[in-house]
Subunit: 151 residues, 2 copies
Amino acid sequence: MENRVSGALESYLEQIADLQKIHGAVRTSDLAERMGCKRSSVTNALQRLSEKGLINYQSYRPVTLTAEGKKTIAALSRYHGILADFLENILAFPEEFAQQEACQLEHRVSPCTIERMRVYLEFVAGKDGDSGQNTVTSQFNDFIKSKKELP
Amino acid sequence: MENRVSGALESYLEQIADLQKIHGAVRTSDLAERMGCKRSSVTNALQRLSEKGLINYQSYRPVTLTAEGKKTIAALSRYHGILADFLENILAFPEEFAQQEACQLEHRVSPCTIERMRVYLEFVAGKDGDSGQNTVTSQFNDFIKSKKELP
DNA sequence: TAATATTGTTAGGTAAAGCTAATTTTCAAG
DNA sequence: CTTGAAAATTAGCTTTACCTAACAATATTA
């Protein structure tokens, strides 16, 4: 068995963590709804996550995260945050799109590149200083608008 | 049959185009070498690419691209260029890494985000003007170095 | 040109991630 | 405390993308 976790399984894991926060227990049907798949596919995913030691799972019993699972989620959630920040504050996407896109990218962009995006965010924050006005981001926003105004 | 082309098939297609440019003919073994897989997997991929109408393929005959295949490659190659440019000139990665990473990302980042990266590149180019000196990129390079110097 | 080496394909297998349909467990009401 | 509905699981199938081993076609070269 390949021990690395695929993007699909990572997503399940995140939804599990989120549902746990909200509802305490994690139900197969809720997961299916969130993942946009059938309950049977969820069961299958839970079994594989369990084999990989990321969740505690027994048939018909409530699912919980292992320490390993929590660690995985912590990393993912950090990646998500950096990517969403980058998309919103560097590339000037609206927050909602940034969040959506970050959900995809957190499984697909290398840690190295994500880390570099974090450094770039720091760099730009430093350039903008405490001014608040006329930041690089707002300049870029204007730039985008100026492009759209002349089609 | 799902008519969309997966990331894996897209990669085969690109390697085919590249080999065609270099060697004229495209050999299964060369493709296998490039893709880091076995010859039998290549045959399988060629059959699927052919079913999707992206290449002309018959057993033991040289492979060629269809018009549709060429169009797909043109789009991909454009994405690759933008991503590599962004990685090298915004995120200040060395060219080789930028190229490698772009190969992965071109199949994974949404066209919308890639397009926005292109606009950002334009924006920064505009800011830097013709100066050449003290560009945003070179400032960021210095910033990275300054971070590394104090561990 | 015939023998051999290389290259390409087929057949059959695995794992991931989904599906439907059938079955089993749990739970809520009567 | 039984029973029927809802929820979860199992069984069996699909596709993608890989694998090995066996076989077929093409090339090389003696």
